[in-house]
């Protein structure tokens, strides 16, 4: 028994070490964001914050308004999440409830194309967006996610196990229209599954880099990741303190959101994995 306690002590120490490894880059980021460039260059490593936060902020904000990027990313991610949630639920409802010609073929086609890596059509996508005149707009970022095969697949499986056809029959007898059935019965039943998918859709859109990089040209329209990429090549990169602060601005809000959502996110990942 005593030996077990020692062993456990060693394991907990190792676990704490791993926690430190997970956090230390972010901690160094925050510390260095409060230090002036000269301080970092001359004094090297320290775990204690400095007093140059506002100074760094002034330098950073002269070159780039990261808050603008923040707002842009937020607008896009919210729109993508709402649209893809609604239309995926709609499509899943259609597949789960109605029996029509070609239903299975269409579903299987969707599943096959779900496996295709997103980069395959990038060149054609860019060309199409150019032809449509939607370059440098948010249309190519917001509209295509309406068709998200994986979410449709996930929601259809969920509906198949949770919704009884009798529920719909009763409402039909009361004279409800089909779309009303979806809004009044299908959507509420799907809500927990939609919420799970919505979190990942939001994160996916928020973190997306290559697509906004390809279609957006005007700096004021940049999303946060694209703005950060531009920051790397700008004069701010000469000032380490300001650079750290720019990165911190993009990271800290996510960390705060994670404090509140971590349980929910982790449950969702576990649920998604076991379903496979």
């Amino acid at each position: 028994m005593k030996k077990d306690k020692v062993v456990k002590g060693i394991f907990y120490t190792l676990l704490i070490l791993l926690v430190i490894i997970s956090f230390i880059p972010f901690y160094m980021m925050i510390v260095n964001a409060t230090r002036s460039n000269g301080d970092i260059l001359q004094n090297g490593f320290t775990l204690l914050p400095g007093g140059a936060l506002m100074e760094n902020y002034d330098i950073l904000i002269q070159y780039m308004n990261l808050w603008r990027g923040f707002a842009n990313s937020l607008v896009i991610a919210v729109a993508v999440t709402l649209l893809s949630s609604y239309f995926s639920a709609l499509t899943a409802f259609g597949f789960a409830v109605y029996n029509f010609k070609g239903r299975n073929a269409l579903f299987i086609l969707m599943l096959i194309l779900m496996m295709v890596p997103g980069q395959l059509g990038l060149i054609g996508f860019y060309d199409l967006i150019q032809t449509m005149g939607f370059l440098d707009t948010y249309v190519p970022l917001i509209i295509p996610p309406i068709a998200s095969p994986f979410i449709v697949f996930f929601l259809r499986q969920y509906l198949a196990t949770t919704m009884h056809p009798s529920l719909l029959e009763a409402a039909r007898i009361d004279g409800a229209k089909e779309l009303t059935l979806f809004h009044k019965i299908g959507l509420p039943i799907l809500m927990p599954a939609v919420a799970t998918m919505a979190i990942f859709t939001f994160i996916g859109s928020w973190n997306n880099y290559i697509l906004p990089l390809v279609v957006l040209f005007s700096p004021e329209k940049y999303t946060l990741p694209v703005m950060l990429g531009a920051l790397r090549g700008s004069q701010v990169a000469q000032n380490l303190g300001a650079m750290y602060l720019g990165i911190a601005i993009s990271v800290v809000p996510i960390m705060i959101a994670f404090l509140f959502l971590s349980k929910y996110i982790i449950t969702s990942i576990s649920a998604g994995a076991v379903k496979e």
């Binding site: 160094m28 259609g94 890596p117 060149i123 509209i143 290559i210 576990s270 994995a273």
Partner: protein, 299 residues
């Protein structure tokens, strides 16, 4: 479903929006890219049909082969460490004799790096790993581990290892969550029965835990490989965006991106996209096949 549902065409109205968008923005671009892969399209003027020339160039292009090599190199380091650490953690937390506490906290702490935008991570490590003024060199010098600052991102080997390890750092928590979910799917009875039979830790691990985790590890392997083949953000943003040093961070998607959007070789980039696609399909087939063969043996 016991009785046949009667044909009901309302279903079409529900799926039409999806398929309109899907055909326009997913299927059509894939076909258009395929067409461009047979042309010398530069983004301007009319594409000129050149047959298989782009593909002939692809199979002899040393840059594409090195991009493939780099991608696999980086993914291999990433996946090895990611799965190794996650597996150790899973074994530790599923040991019913040790009864480790704090799973909720540790899972959340280990998962955090995965949530951060890769662009931010790339920039952060880009300066943490800096040569004379990087925090990591400062720390190592202070601790006396090194006597000269190491230029991590300027040497092909350390650059690839850096990117691979950053990937592992980002993903081990995620993989740990998935493996733990797999373990909690295993009935406790198995472990208790093994314990009553006097099985040692090692026997439980090799005869109960690992075999039962195999399917979920395969899932992790496939999703990680498909994701790993597409690595772009990290190598793009951690150095100059062209795969420096010495092209060691030039991955397949980075190559595709640069060919298309830096050099305007849309036609050739389209062929690169299909080359990447073919490699992905090939890997997936090999893995599914090896899984199938094992099932047959066991059944």
């Amino acid at each position: 479903m016991s009785k046949m549902k009667k044909i009901d065409y309302h279903g079409y109205f529900f799926i039409i929006p999806f398929f309109l968008i899907f055909i326009t923005f997913t299927i059509y671009p894939i076909l258009l890219t395929f067409y461009y892969s047979f042309t010398s399209y530069t983004g301007m003027g009319d594409p000129e049909f050149i047959g298989l020339a782009n593909y002939a160039r692809l199979v002899t292009d040393p840059y594409f082969f090195s991009a493939f090599y780099n991608t696999m190199y980086i993914w291999g380091i990433n996946f090895g460490f990611q799965l190794g650490i996650a597996l150790l953690l899973t074994v530790l937390f599923s040991d019913i004799r040790l009864k480790m506490k704090g799973l909720g906290f540790f899972r959340a702490a280990f998962y955090l790096p995965n949530l951060i935008t890769i662009a931010s991570v790339a920039l952060l490590f880009g300066i943490l790993l800096g040569w004379h003024h990087g925090t990591i060199n400062h720390l190592l010098l202070d601790l006396g581990i090194i006597s000269q600052p190491i230029n991590w991102l300027n040497d092909p080997t350390t650059a690839r290892w850096s990117v691979g390890l950053i990937g592992a750092w980002m993903w081990f928590g995620h993989t740990f969550i998935i493996l733990m979910a797999g373990v909690s799917g295993i009935s406790k009875d198995y472990f208790e029965a093994a314990l009553i039979d006097g099985a040692s830790r090692w026997q439980i691990l090799s005869n109960v835990t690992l075999p039962l985790l195999k399917p979920i590890m395969l899932y992790v392997l496939i999703t990680s490989l498909i994701g790993g083949l597409q690595i772009f953000d990290l190598p793009m943003l951690i150095t100059d965006g062209m795969g420096a040093p010495e092209g060691s961070l030039n991955t397949m998607v980075l190559y595709l991106y640069n060919q298309a959007f830096k050099f305007n070789n849309y036609g050739y980039a389209a062929a690169v996209a299909y080359g990447l696609f073919l490699i992905t399909v090939l890997f997936s087939l090999i893995m599914f096949k090896s899984m199938y063969r094992k099932n047959v043996k066991e059944g």
